[in-house]
């Protein structure tokens, strides 16, 4: 159950990996779509936290091209619905997330990413 809402917040936390460690790259992913309740207030509140290029990249990687290149100035319903779908309804069930900097692999099994680090990777 990694959705893009959490993927967009997640950087690599391995020891010494502090730059260029976001966003994690998806590899070999399997995706499931699950509808969820549309909550425009939540989305408006969440907007300032979003790294737009990372979200756009991840959505397109997962096959969704509904988001515009640039964050629109007007947050109309159509846009918010597309955003809702991308952030909350696309679930990555299997695959790997790879740090673009240190190449650490975070495997996703059954929807749950394994964030455990090996001893030499702990800060």
């Amino acid at each position: 159950m990694v959705r893009l809402i959490t993927h967009n917040l997640l950087a690599c936390h391995a020891k010494g990996c502090t730059t260029n460690n976001f966003p994690l790259e998806f590899k070999d992913v399997q995706v499931v779509l699950r509808e969820s309740e549309f909550n425009p207030e939540f989305l408006r509140g969440f907007m300032p936290k979003i790294e737009w290029p990372a979200l756009l990249g991840a959505a397109r990687e997962l096959g969704d091209t509904s988001l515009p290149d640039q964050l629109p100035e007007m947050l109309d319903d159509d846009f918010l619905k597309a955003l809702h779908h991308v952030l909350l309804e696309i679930h990555v069930e299997e695959g790997i997330m790879i740090c673009p900097n240190c190449q650490h692999n975070y495997p996703i099994l059954n929807g749950i990413p394994n964030m455990l680090l090996a001893e030499h990777e702990i800060a």
Binding site: M1, V2, R3, I5, T6, L9, L10, A11, C12, H13, N21, F22, F26, V29, Q30, V31, V32, L33, R34, E35, S36, E37, F38, N39, E41, F42, G45, F46, K49, E51, E61, L62, G63, L88, N110, G111, I112, P113, N114, M115, L116, L117, A118, E119, I122, A123
Partner: protein, 283 residues
């Protein structure tokens, strides 16, 4: 009975059998639910603003189910795979991560509007995990520092936990302070052996809300609202029956939506041919 955190590392202690036993126990369900409600109260989130929360040591989702019920969107982390598996079975709504909080978080600055943690912190003080670890103070420092940066300013993190001595409380609060947190300890029903509960309330910035003072602990007569809570939970259990075990397939989604509609929730997405459909990623 000896404290669980002295028995074995958490991911061993909460193996398949204990994870199921822990979660099924109705008394556990009630206690964890009550403490979660109290933690939410202490979190003092701005009313009517939907929030994105972190559930630290989410386990099998007993705390997370309350977050779902209260309409929060959340992410949970836990070190015990068996507990997370039960959480999946119980179909909680939050995103789940297998993570040792003593290794710290990688969440971007300001990710969460608040954090709760129910019955977890004592584990960081006591048992080693079977994963590579360092000393408890080092792990606590790494945990609080990375948590502090992943919370937005202002906000709060509220931990219910079971300290076994004042020294432990002292250690935890001093490390949290060094990580940049304000706040402190709130004790509910300090004079009741049974009802006494310890909460660590940490503030980022002013902690939100008008007063920067710590809230008062509850005292005096215990309110017996357990009945109400219990009934609420029974409703939840009934709603779940018959669909345990299956992944969130189309059937499940339709049932859940029906349930939401029945409960009078608005804007439940309409059913479509895409509902619950598996899609191949496109590259």
């Amino acid at each position: 009975m000896s404290r669980p955190e002295l028995v074995a590392p958490p991911e061993i202690y909460y193996g398949d059998i204990e994870a199921k036993k822990y979660t099924k126990n109705t008394r556990n369900q009630q206690i964890q639910a009550d403490m979660t409600y109290r933690a939410l109260e202490l979190l003092n989130l701005p009313p009517d603003e939907p929030a994105f929360l972190l559930d630290i040591g989410c386990g099998s989702g007993l705390s997370g189910e309350i977050l779902d019920e209260e309409g929060y969107i959340w992410t949970g982390v836990d070190i015990a795979p068996s507990m997370l598996e039960v959480a999946l079975e119980r179909e909680v709504e939050g995103d789940l991560f297998l993570q040792d909080i003593g290794q710290g978080f990688g969440f971007r600055p300001g990710s969460f509007d608040g954090a709760i943690s129910i019955s977890v912190l004592q584990w960081l003080l006591n048992a080693e995990t079977s994963h590579p670890t360092s000393s408890p103070p080092h792990r606590l420092a790494r945990f609080f520092t990375t948590l502090h940066s992943s919370l937005r300013n202002p906000s709060r993190a509220v931990f219910q936990f079971y300290p076994s001595s004042d020294d432990q409380i002292q250690l935890i609060t001093s490390i949290a302070q060094k990580a940049g947190f304000g706040g402190g300890i709130v004790v509910d029903y300090p004079n009741s052996k049974k009802a006494r509960k310890v909460f660590l309330c940490l503030y980022v910035g002013g902690g939100g809300g008008s007063q920067q003072q710590l809230p008062e602990g509850l005292d005096g007569e215990e309110v017996d609202d357990s009945k109400v809570r219990f009934e609420r939970r029974r409703e939840r259990e009934t709603a779940k029956q018959g669909k345990r075990g299956n992944v969130k397939d189309k059937h499940w989604i339709l049932k859940k939506k029906e349930l939401y509609r029945k409960r009078g929730k608005e804007s439940v997405p309409r059913d479509s041919k895409f509902t619950g459909r598996k899609r191949r990623p496109v590259f």
